[in-house]
């Protein structure tokens, strides 16, 4: 005969397991697909910046054609305009798996101006990348500043 105590232990275990299952699905969070999509865009930006940066740092030999291609890929990936990947409520206070701050969606948000600053810096980099190594080196700094400008205001620290 099964004791009442055992039944309670089993019940507690079941509840705990379902709780684990719930927590696991919850950690996916709302807007998980949108967050994944916009983070993929950032990954693409970083990949092409990595090629340009490696040349600037001297880790990779400068190649005007490869630099020009990386810069135009960066221009393409950074200008993908997909507001659908940034729905309201997909901030770090409302869901999981993101460091996007609610300030992005606030009334006084200047995220549009920040995006414009990035697009200008990337356009200058695109011109410089295929010119020569010195020009490439000089043009990466402003792109970094534009990235930082947005991350400072709108991304939570780790």
């Amino acid at each position: 005969m099964i004791s009442k105590a055992r039944i309670s232990v089993a019940a507690v275990a079941l509840v705990a397991m379902s709780g684990v299952g719930f927590a696991a699905s919850h950690s996916q969070g709302e807007f998980a697909r949108e967050i994944k999509a916009r983070q993929a865009q950032m990954t693409l930006n970083a990949f092409n910046l990595g090629i340009l940066g490696a040349m600037a740092k001297g880790e990779m030999e400068y190649d005007a054609e490869a630099a020009g291609l990386a810069a135009s890929n960066l221009a393409a990936s950074s200008s993908i305009w997909m507001p659908t990947a940034w729905p309201e409520g997909s901030d770090n206070a409302s869901t999981e798996g993101t460091r996007a701050l609610p300030a992005i969606w606030a009334g006084d948000s200047d995220i549009g101006a920040k995006a414009q600053a990035l697009s200008e810096a990337v356009a200058a980099l695109q011109t410089a990348a295929g010119t020569d190594l010195e020009a490439l080196r000089g043009a990466i700094g402003p792109v970094g500043a534009a990235c930082g400008g947005c991350h400072k205001a709108y991304r939570a620290e780790e």
Binding site: A46, G50, K57, A145, G148, G149, H151, K152, A156, E158
Partner: protein
């Protein structure tokens, strides 16, 4: 009766001790005589010391970062401190100061009126700044635009609102000299000056004790961000920071990590300043960080 007399003497001795220990220190009045600051050099000191990161108005960008109106708030376990106006306004800023007043503020945390500053102003670090650099910085600061925004009072409760008591805190924390006793070569020595003194990196990246003093035996090993539940200032010692010296210098120039993520938060402000330094200075900072002990 006699007991009371002894007790009275003891209290008097205690008060005298407190008075002596908490007296604001100042430089010898002649210590900067004959020094003429160079504003162009001072501009680099200004960048290295990161003055604008705290003293520019909150959210200021571009040229507006040179208007040192103050107002940025700094949360701490002791209250919230607000950066004051240090523009050359005679009424609300440092317009009436001498270079020596600036040196007393930076090296001793003492105001021209002889009051203690709160150590949210990083004079524990600036104590190691060279007087020549302070003279240059002064020459540059007085060329900046005037702001007539009054400084905001700090929001600090009892007993921390008794400034005299800061003398005891200073006695415990100020004037300890360099953390890295022997830098070994000139490049690391320059890096030590930039990191420990002007750059005041330890103010965020070194954990603090219960009284808010930097734990020098845990130098640059990171710590919690005040007012943030999960954020941490990262450990910069070779224990945790595995980047090459070139990667560190490049990060300080562009804000890009070796994975080409970018600096955010307060560090984005710091990069705005380190980007202005000569490349040798960024390399020196990297060399110093690589020379820190791993334990």
């Amino acid at each position: 009766m006699r007991l009371f007399r002894y007790l009275g003497l003891l209290v008097l001795a205690g008060l005298a001790g407190f008075w002596l220990l908490t007296r604001p220190e100042r430089l010898d009045p002649s210590s900067m005589s004959g020094m003429t600051g160079d504003a162009a050099r001072g501009q680099l000191v200004f960048a290295a010391a990161g003055c604008a990161a705290c003293h520019a108005a909150p959210g200021a960008e571009g040229e507006a970062r040179l208007v040192l109106a103050g107002g940025e708030g700094f949360a701490s376990p002791f209250g919230t401190f607000y950066a004051p106006n240090i523009s050359p306004s005679p009424d609300h800023g440092i317009g009436g100061w001498s270079a020596q007043d600036l040196a007393n503020a930076m090296q001793h945390g003492t105001s021209p009126e002889g009051q203690h500053y709160y150590p949210a102003f990083p004079y524990v670090s600036y104590a190691n700044a060279e007087l020549g650099d302070i003279a240059d910085l002064y020459a540059y600061l007085i060329t900046l635009p005037v702001s007539d925004t009054p400084s905001r009072a700090h929001d600090v409760g009892f007993p921390f609102n008794i400034r005299r008591g800061l003398g005891l805190w200073k006695w415990l924390n100020v004037g300890k000299g360099w953390v890295m006793a022997d830098p070994g070569d000139a490049q690391v020595a320059r890096g030590r000056y930039l990191v420990e003194a002007l750059g005041h990196c330890g103010e965020c990246h070194t954990p603090r004790d219960a009284l808010g003093g930097m734990q020098r035996d845990k130098w640059l090993t990171g710590g919690p961000i005040p007012g943030s539940s999960k954020g941490r200032f990262p450990d910069l010692t070779p224990n945790a920071l595995k980047w090459s010296a070139e990667d560190i210098a490049y990060y300080l120039e562009t804000g890009f990590t070796p994975d080409f993520d970018s600096a955010g938060g307060a560090m984005a402000d710091v990069i705005q300043n380190t980007a202005l330094l000569p490349p040798e200075d960024r390399a020196a900072i990297a060399a110093y960080l690589k020379a820190l002990p791993a334990n």
